[in-house]
C-alpha cells in the first residue's frame, strides 16, 4: 500500500470541469496527511492543453491518451484506472461527485473490491483510517463515517464543498501509455445532445424568481409569474416542476439544468436540495420563502421568510403595488 492520493480529472469539449480543481485541492491536502504525493489521472484524446493546465497546480499529471478515450465510458476509464491502481497502489482514489464521478467511482470500487464512500463534503485521513463527512436527509443531518482498510479507498467529493487548488510550481506531466482491450469495451457513445435553445435565458437575467414544489399546483405558477414581472425578472424552477412539465426544461436551475448568478434570486417554495443549490448559490442576494424552517435553502439564503408562498406572494404583490 502506497501513500499517494490519485485524483481523477474530468473534462468535456476540451474544458476541464471546475470540480476537478477541487479534487486536486483535496488530494494535495490528503497527501500531506498520508505522506505521499497528489497525482491526477487525465484520460482522453487530444488533451495536451488540459494536461498542462492541471500541472499548473503543482501536481504530477498521469496522462493517458487513446482514441477510445475521446468520450468518457466507464469501461475504458475503468480499464486504464485499474492499471494505474496496480502500478501506483494509491492510498485513496478521488473523483468529483458529478454525473461522471458517480458513474465511475462505484464501478471501480466494485470491480477492484475496494471500500467506497461518496458525495463527501469533507475527507481526512487519521492514522490510515478515512474519515468521510457527508450530508444526508435533505441536508438536515451531517454524518462522519470511518472506513478502515489496507486497500485503497475510493471516494467522491461534492462539487462546491471544498476549495480548488491554486497555481503552484513543481507540477509535471508524465505520459502513461495504455493498451486497451477492445473486446472489453461494451458501452458505445453515439452522440452528445445539447439543450434546446429557449425563448427565455434564465442565465443572463438580473432577477430570477424560482418556483418549487411549494407552489403545489401548476395554476399557482401565475403568482410566481406576476411577481417576476413586477420585479423585472424571469421565472426559473426547481427540478420537480420541469419534470412535471409545468415549465420547459430550459427554466431549470441546478446541477443538471442551468447555473445562474443573478443580482436577486427569490426561491419560492424550494427546499434547497444539493442539486438545486449548486446552480444558484453564487447569486448576489438570495431570498427564500418556505414553510419548513429546517429547509436547507435557508442556509444559502441571505434573507429567509418562513411562510406559505401561496399566501406570501399575494401579500407581497399588494405591498409592491401595480
Amino acid at each position: 500500500m502506497g501513500a499517494d492520493i490519485l485524483g481523477i480529472a474530468e473534462h468535456l469539449d476540451g474544458v476541464v470541469a471546475p470540480s476537478t480543481f477541487e479534487v486536486i485541492g483535496k488530494a494535495i491536502a490528503l497527501a500531506d496527511a498520508s505522506g505521499g504525493a497528489a497525482k491526477i489521472a487525465l484520460l482522453g484524446s487530444g488533451t495536451t492543453a488540459i494536461a498542462s493546465s492541471l500541472a499548473s497546480t503543482g501536481v504530477e499529471v498521469l496522462h493517458t491518451e487513446d482514441a477510445s478515450l475521446r468520450d468518457y465510458t466507464p469501461d475504458a476509464y475503468g480499464q486504464v484506472l485499474r492499471g494505474l491502481l496496480a502500478s501506483i497502489a494509491p492510498r485513496l482514489v478521488l473523483a468529483a461527485h458529478t454525473a461522471q464521478g458517480t458513474d465511475l467511482a462505484p464501478a471501480i470500487a466494485a470491480s477492484a473490491d475496494l471500500p467506497l464512500v461518496t458525495n463527501c463534503v469533507d475527507l481526512s485521513l487519521e492514522a490510515g483510517t478515512l474519515l468521510a463527512t457527508r450530508r444526508m436527509f435533505n441536508e438536515k443531518v451531517e454524518g462522519v463515517f470511518e472506513l478502515s482498510s489496507d486497500r485503497a479507498y475510493v471516494a467522491t467529493l461534492r462539487p462546491g464543498a471544498t476549495k480548488p487548488a491554486r497555481a503552484s510550481p513543481g507540477g509535471r506531466v508524465s505520459s502513461v501509455p495504455v493498451a486497451l482491450d477492445p473486446t472489453k469495451l461494451p458501452t458505445r457513445v453515439l452522440r452528445l445532445e445539447r439543450p434546446e435553445v429557449s425563448d427565455v435565458d434564465i442565465g443572463s437575467a438580473d432577477v430570477v424568481v424560482a418556483a418549487g414544489r411549494g407552489i403545489q399546483k401548476k395554476e399557482n405558477l401565475a403568482l410566481v409569474e406576476a411577481l417576476a414581472k413586477r420585479l423585472g425578472g424571469v421565472v426559473g424552477a426547481s427540478r420537480p416542476l420541469t419534470d412535471n412539465e409545468w415549465l420547459p426544461k430550459a427554466r431549470q436551475v441546478g446541477q443538471s439544468g442551468k447555473t445562474v448568478r443573478p443580482k436577486l434570486y427569490l426561491a419560492c417554495g424550494i427546499s434547497g436540495a444539493m442539486q438545486h443549490v449548486s446552480g444558484m448559490k453564487d447569486s448576489e442576494f438570495v431570498v427564500a420563502i418556505n414553510t419548513d424552517p429546517s429547509a436547507p435553502i435557508f442556509e444559502v439564503a441571505h434573507l429567509g421568510v418562513v411562510a406559505n408562498v401561496l399566501e406570501l406572494i399575494p401579500a407581497l404583490l399588494k405591498e409592491l403595488g401595480p
Binding site: 466507464p74 458517480t102 473490491d113 474519515l131 435533505n138 451531517e142 470511518e146 458501452t187
Partner: protein, 265 residues
C-alpha cells in the same frame, strides 16, 4: 424479446420531515418517521413496467431493507410488478452502501435479469452509489442518470444526463444495469383493484441462508465501516429571518427589496 426486468427499490423517510439525532448519535430518531418509496425509484419502477408492456417479460421488484419496506413492495405490485422480493437486511440506517450493495448483488445472482434498474440516488443518503456498485459486483455494463431508455434487440440505447442540460446517448449491451433519473417518465398511480389484489400477494423473503451464506457478515467487503457520529449540520450563514404574520413579512420584504433597488417604481 421478452425481458426479465429487475427493479431495485428503497424505502426512505419522508425527506420533508424535520430530523432528530438518536441519543447515541449513530442514527436519526426513527420512532416518529413516516416512510415512502425513494423519489427516483418511482421512475425506475415505471420504466421497468413500461419496458415489460412494450417488449413482454416480467418485472421483479427487489428491496434490501427491514420488514416495513413490504408496504412499498405492495405498491410496486399494484403498479405492475409481477413479483416482489425483500432481501432481509434489517439495518434501519444502512449507512454503509458497500454492504447494502454486496447483499443486493448476492440476491440478484439468484434472480434472472436482462435489465436491472435502480433510481439515480436515494434521497435519504444521497450517495448515488448502489447501482454502480451492484453493476460492478455482477460484472454488468451500466449507465447512470438515464432519462431515456430504448430497447433495440439485444442492446439498449440510453440518454444519460450530464451537467448543464447535456445528454450523452450511449448503446449498452444487455444484460445491463441502468440508474434512472427523475423525470424519465410519468409514474402511474395504482388502480384501486390492483392495490387490493397486491395486499394479498405473497412477498418472497431472501435471508442469508437462501443465498448460501451463514450471515450477512459473510458477504462483508475488505474494510471496516463505522458511524462515528451524526449531528445537525453546522449552521453556515443562516438567513436573516423576516418574522411576524404574513402581512408583516410581506411589508418588510417589500421594504428590503425597495432598499436594495430591486423595485423600479
Amino acid at each position: 424479446m421478452a425481458l426479465n426486468v429487475v427493479v431495485c427499490l428503497k424505502q426512505i423517510p419522508n425527506p420533508d420531515l424535520q430530523f432528530q439525532i438518536a441519543p447515541d448519535g449513530l442514527d436519526i430518531r426513527r420512532d416518529a418517521l413516516n416512510y415512502r418509496v425513494n423519489g427516483s425509484d418511482e421512475y425506475a419502477l415505471e420504466e421497468a413496467v413500461r419496458t415489460k408492456e412494450k417488449h413482454g417479460g416480467r418485472v421483479v421488484a427487489v428491496t434490501a431493507g427491514p420488514k416495513r419496506a413490504e408496504q412499498m413492495l405492495r405498491e410496486a405490485l399494484a403498479k405492475g410488478a409481477d413479483e416482489a422480493v425483500r432481501v432481509a437486511y434489517e439495518d434501519p440506517g444502512a449507512y454503509d452502501v458497500g454492504r447494502t450493495a454486496r447483499i443486493l448483488a448476492a440476491a440478484l445472482k439468484t434472480i434472472p435479469h436482462d435489465l436491472v434498474l435502480t433510481g439515480v440516488q436515494s434521497d435519504d443518503l444521497i450517495g448515488s452509489a448502489t447501482g454502480g456498485l451492484v453493476a460492478g459486483f455482477l460484472g454488468l455494463p451500466h449507465a447512470s442518470v438515464v432519462t431515456r431508455v430504448d430497447v433495440k434487440g439485444t442492446e439498449i440505447e440510453v440518454a444519460c444526463e450530464l451537467e448543464g442540460g447535456l445528454q450523452r446517448v450511449m448503446s449498452v449491451p444487455m444484460p445491463a444495469l441502468l440508474t434512472i433519473q427523475f423525470g424519465a417518465n410519468m409514474p402511474r398511480y395504482a388502480p384501486l383493484p390492483a392495490i387490493m389484489k397486491a395486499a394479498r400477494q405473497p412477498i418472497r423473503e431472501l435471508g442469508p441462508a437462501a443465498l448460501g451464506v451463514p450471515s450477512w457478515d459473510a458477504l462483508a467487503g475488505p474494510y471496516a465501516f463505522r458511524v462515528r457520529r451524526l449531528t445537525p449540520p453546522a449552521a453556515r450563514g443562516r438567513a436573516e429571518l423576516v418574522t411576524g404574520a404574513v402581512g408583516e413579512q410581506a411589508r418588510r420584504l417589500a421594504q428590503i427589496l425597495r432598499e436594495k433597488g430591486f423595485v423600479r417604481r
